[in-house]
């Protein structure tokens, strides 16, 4: 193949990819703004609550066991990984405080978000994608019902409201799991464990984690619903959309975590100054 053609095709492919990406980026934000515009209407009507509450059950209640389990094991593993080093330095009493601070600030919200993206996000995309390919979304439109108000807004709202609550469960179980391993496996003492946790872990740590989880929940809800609404036809299209939902949600969680981390740390230092943990 002549070099010019390969070069031209490569440039064309990059241009096409960029155009495609920008189109989806713009369309996604228009979709988000439209879905968000219905939130006040949904919250002041009985019908809106009748759509919202079942989503709270399927997204929140049914995700609770797996998120609690995830939180518990994270707390346990962090104690396992940290015990030897802290023991060598003579700071085992402070290990619990460091672990629980890490769980509240980072691991609780991030892992709860990832579990939510995998469990609920995939299910949302599959449900809405199937409705899309079987013309149920068209049927809603033809009856004068707005599919975005009817389907997306309650799911988005449920993800935003429940992500922090699920993060609370993850943080709680992470703390209890850490304590269990600290005391039962390594023979640490309970009183110094909780003393240093009280001294070190602040409301700011918990609040930062919960604030991040709100953004994570919103990203998961919107990305999952958007991919369901715009999936390609057929079972393969729905399957691809589910995979894409999880991958994009996961990447967004990591990116948001980074930027929110910068922001929240910066705010803490401006308002309260440096905080030594050890």
């Amino acid at each position: 193949m002549p070099r010019n053609n390969v070069l031209a095709q490569s440039v064309a492919a990059i241009g096409s990819g960029a155009t495609h990406g920008l189109t989806h980026f713009g369309r996604f934000w228009a979709f988000t703004a439209y879905a968000a515009s219905f939130i006040p209407l949904e919250l002041i009507t009985l019908r809106g609550w009748r759509r919202f509450l079942p989503q709270c059950y399927s997204i929140g209640t049914r995700s609770t066991p797996v998120i609690m389990l995830t939180g518990m094991f994270i707390g346990m593993v962090l104690i396992v990984q940290g015990w030897a080093q802290f023991d060598a330095a003579g700071f085992t009493d402070r290990l619990g405080a460091i672990v629980i601070t890490s769980v509240c600030l980072e691991l609780g919200p991030v892992l709860a978000g990832v579990m939510l993206a995998g469990r609920a996000g995939g299910a949302l995309t599959a449900e809405l994608g199937t409705m899309n390919v079987t013309e149920q979304l068209l049927a809603l439109r033809s009856m004068g019902a707005d599919p975005i108000r009817y389907l997306v807004t309650p799911r988005f709202l449920a993800c935003v409201v429940l992500a922090p609550l699920l993060t609370c469960y993850a943080d709680l179980m992470g703390s209890l799991g850490a304590f269990l391993v600290f005391v039962a496996v390594y023979g640490g003492e309970a009183e110094p464990f909780w003393f240093y946790v009280r001294e070190t872990v602040q409301l700011w740590d918990l609040g930062s984690g919960l604030a991040k989880s709100v953004f994570f929940g919103g990203a998961i809800g919107l990305v999952s619903c958007y991919n369901g609404f715009h999936c390609k036809p057929g079972a393969q299209g729905v399957g691809q959309a589910c995979t894409q939902s999880f991958v994009v949600s996961f990447i967004l969680i990591l990116v948001l975590d980074l930027f929110l981390g910068f922001l929240l740390n910066g705010l803490y230092e401006v308002w309260f100054g440096f905080r030594p943990l050890i």
Partner: protein, 254 residues
């Protein structure tokens, strides 16, 4: 209802080419044609689910192809659509599916009791009494088609227009006859304007007041069912007789 100079393409495929159609009120207009010729696409333009690349669409004298989704709501609430794939809501029972248009029509509040009564009556009309609490996944293809039809007619007051996309597809001859009679009854007794897309010539003869055939994006015949059956145009003749086009026939050679 009127389409003026409507053209629609999907990529390189031209589906509708400068279509003009004026639908007569309170009559059944049947659109026939081969699979993939754009009949469903045409139907979707009427209710604003698709917008034409060129041309205009009018409903009750009002141009709708330029209206936004919210402005289309009052127009869509007067029109029912029976989808080719039925489009029943999987998360709802049969009676919830049938009562959905009435529940969502916030402009006219209908009591729960009235919705339940009307939904049950419409299920009885299509021969599905006792199916109220089943879910679409538990139904056969023919049963789903009948639920979709019941949903289209279960409105208080009845819809002014019903669009039927293959209403008898997947039904046995006896059930098809019941559906045809129901479509005819709606038109005669309730003055519903019907636009029916179908391949079924028997259905066309029974329900149609006017028949048009779509070929290569344009109408090639327009008349009463009897006129269409006697039409001399070759494509129309072959379609009504159920004969394949010469270019369709493939010779397999060893």
């Amino acid at each position: 209802m009127e389409l003026r100079g409507v053209s629609k393409s999907f990529g390189p495929q031209h589906v509708l080419d400068n279509i003009d159609l004026k639908v007569q009120r309170s009559r059944n207009t049947v659109i026939i044609g081969r699979s993939g010729t754009g009949k469903s696409v045409l139907l979707r333009h009427i209710v604003g689910l698709l917008r034409p690349d060129h041309g205009e669409v009018y409903v009750e004298g009002k141009r709708i192809d330029t209206l936004g989704e919210r402005a289309l709501v009052p127009i869509r609430r007067q029109i029912s659509f029976v989808f080719q794939l039925n489009a029943l809501f999987d998360s709802m029972t049969v009676v919830e599916n049938v009562g959905f248009p009435m529940r969502e029509n916030t402009a006219q509040r209908v009591s729960k009791k009235r919705i339940q009564e009307l939904a049950s009556k419409c299920l009885h009309l299509v021969g599905l009494e006792g199916f109220e609490n089943k879910r679409p996944a538990e139904l056969s293809g023919g049963e789903r088609k009948r639920v979709a039809l019941a949903r289209a007619i279960a409105m208080d007051p009845p819809p002014k227009v019903i669009l039927y996309d293959e209403p008898t597809a997947g039904l046995d001859p006896q059930r098809s006859d019941v559906i045809n009679k129901l479509i005819r009854q709606l038109q005669e007794q309730v003055q519903v304007t019907g636009i029916i897309v179908t391949h079924d010539m028997r259905s066309t003869m029974e329900v149609g007041d006017r028949v048009l055939m779509l070929w290569n994006g344009q109408f090639i015949v327009d008349g009463t069912p009897e006129e269409v059956m006697r039409a001399k145009e070759a494509h129309v003749r072959r379609f009504v007789e159920g004969a394949g086009e010469p270019t369709d026939l493939v010779t397999w050679t060893r």
